[in-house]
Symmetry: none
Subunit: 335 residues, 2 copies
DNA sequence: GGTGGTTTCGAAGATGTTTCGATAGCGTCG
DNA sequence: CGACGCTATCGAAACATCTTCGAAACCACC
């Protein structure tokens, strides 16, 4: 059945070329000691030349990469694509599941168990203790991305350094001379949102700027959330000169509200977003924002789930990937 | 054992021709893994050559909502979320599959068959005749969204009225007094792209405006495609006063190029996009665009696939959903 | 019970690893 | 000088996996 000398290099072919026996080549590959330096050199050179790859580590086409659910509360943001891209790259086969699209009783945990899934990734979503227990009973691992509540210590989760992100955004604005800095968070009870606002507070605190509760607002993470809260903020008697929005979409809403109010950005109002969606670069002005490595978060969650599915231990139950400020043109010195 | 080539090809006859056993052929048809690549190729070629079609329907495994693949070439656009939302709403359970994320040899048809999927929705992607036959052999229906090539008459597909869309966009510009109207299409060979450009030509024709080939460009559907082609167009000695872009993302690229060239939109240059992504409303200026009902297209594709999976006949093999012009602020009368 | 296809299971083969003994080289001691 | 002992190097053979594939049992249906 073997034919080709031209095909994939095997230990045997290398051995023949080097004029040694097969086991000797094996020893070289595995770093065993009982090989003469000269022989080792000769074999290594040939291994290199033939570009030998051991069979075990060969890109084995995953015969049946595990099928897992990715549960979104709703598929309503470009956000989702970024995550999905990351997750697909982790080597899982994923079923997208949108709670919003489900018939309202839709019990995703049941269908997940019944559907033969091997696990789940839950995105910014509340996972109840009951759900957790049921999943545990069926030995189905879950990884949460950007958990809404602080998850129990036994629920692995992936997030971003929201606190630092909020801090960095706010410090950036403080450095530009702003004093009246507003923040628009996501829904009040979201963990990520609270962390960002805490970062904001910490930065103000450090700069010795008193926090004005009137400048802290909450809205949904979408355009309208940003738009409406910005409208309110801009109508304040002593309106803010800068707004830190909880998401890029919100920030676009803020831009819109500013435009309607006849304010120029960043001339009259500086705006910082959060996420760094691809389109943040193309808005006008290009949006200064806190980059959240969404695709990496997806990939990380995928890899963690893959580990859990194959019964490996996780290095850590909670992983936070670094955010970083991306200064663009929507922020400027205080007018 | 009868030997004649005359009758309907059976697994046994294919097996004989390939010099393998019957079970091996069965495994190839069902995408099982334990077949050597060379053998698989040989058998697939013969299945093709003999145009094998199985007799009995395979025992249907799951009664609950069928699991189907949604195959993207790449998950690289907010576009994708819209479609996904629509598809999830149709009551299918969907597995997202990105060809880009696959190791390049990745034979998606095989993993689809082996993975027990009940069908597939292929998005703007070339589906080869061979793939089609293989899916047919396994009784797996496929629906194509926005097919790249004109699909065979037996491949159900969902699209939008691209021609009318192109026509509407161009007529809108003509009505605004524009005469030098450029168009940026997607990749040259995309069906949807060609249809839009034909609509553009038809509108020009109707208005008695001679078509200038220099004003017809092709680029990828993303921001950079639009940006680069717009740069070229704006450097023309007799530059266009309006650009019809093949996608919203491209249109954002055009806006960017105009900004860099110091042109105001819509003052100096009118821009029309295509798709009506959510963010088209929030760009500045808000983008006049041709609305493509992406979520509806997804839902329609889902419903068609659902019908096919449950063995119902389709009312029509090819469905085109209506596009409509959404005039916003990126177009104005010719300067 | 025949036809058409699927599944299970083990045999055969291919590839790599490990063990262990053969041998050569070299120094040392009688 | 030659016997002896020691070590470094290497390959034969046994072992361990993993892949590939078919015999035979099985299933569904007519």
């Amino acid at each position: 059945m073997h034919e080709q000398t031209a095909g994939r290099p095997t230990l045997a072919s290398i051995a023949a070329a080097a004029g040694v026996s097969l086991p000797t080549v094996s020893k070289v590959v595995n770093g065993k000691t009982d090989v003469a330096p000269a022989t080792r050199e000769r074999v290594l050179a040939l291994l290199d030349q033939y570009d030998y790859v051991p069979l075990a580590r060969r890109p084995v086409p995953e015969p049946d990469s595990p099928l897992v659910d990715v549960v979104f509360t709703a598929l309503d943001s470009p956000w989702a694509v970024e995550l999905l891209r990351g997750i697909t790259e982790s080597g899982l086969e994923i079923v997208v599941d949108s709670l919003a699209a489900r018939p309202q009783d839709g019990d995703w945990v049941r269908s997940l168990i019944a559907g033969g899934r091997r696990g789940a990734i839950v995105v910014t979503s509340r996972i109840t203790a009951a759900d957790q227990r049921r999943l545990g009973r069926s030995h189905l691992p879950v990884v949460v991305i950007d958990p809404v509540d602080m998850p129990g210590p036994d629920v692995p989760s992936v997030g971003a350094t929201n606190w630092s992100g909020g801090m960095a955004a706010t410090e950036h604005l403080v450095e530009l001379g702003h004093r009246r800095i507003a923040v628009i968070g996501g829904p009040e009870d979201y963990l990520c949102s609270r962390a960002r606002i805490d970062g904001y507070r910490a930065a103000l605190d450090r700069a010795g700027i008193p926090a004005d509760p009137a400048l802290v607002r909450h809205g949904n993470f979408h355009h309208d959330g940003g738009y409406e809260r910005a409208r309110e903020l801009l109508e304040l008697p002593d309106r803010p000169t800068a707004v830190f929005a909880g998401s890029d979409e919100q920030a676009f809403g803020v831009l819109e509200a500013a435009r309607q109010a006849g304010l120029s950005v960043p001339g009259d109002l500086s705006v910082v977003g959060f996420d760094d969606l691809p389109m943040a670069r193309w808005s006008s002005p290009p949006l200064t924002t806190v980059r959240q490595p969404l695709a990496d978060m997806g990939r990380m969650a995928g890899r963690m789930l893959l580990d859990l599915v194959s019964g490996r231990e996780l290095a850590s139950q909670r992983v936070e990937l670094a955010t970083s400020l991306v200064p663009r043109a929507s922020t400027a010195r205080r007018p």
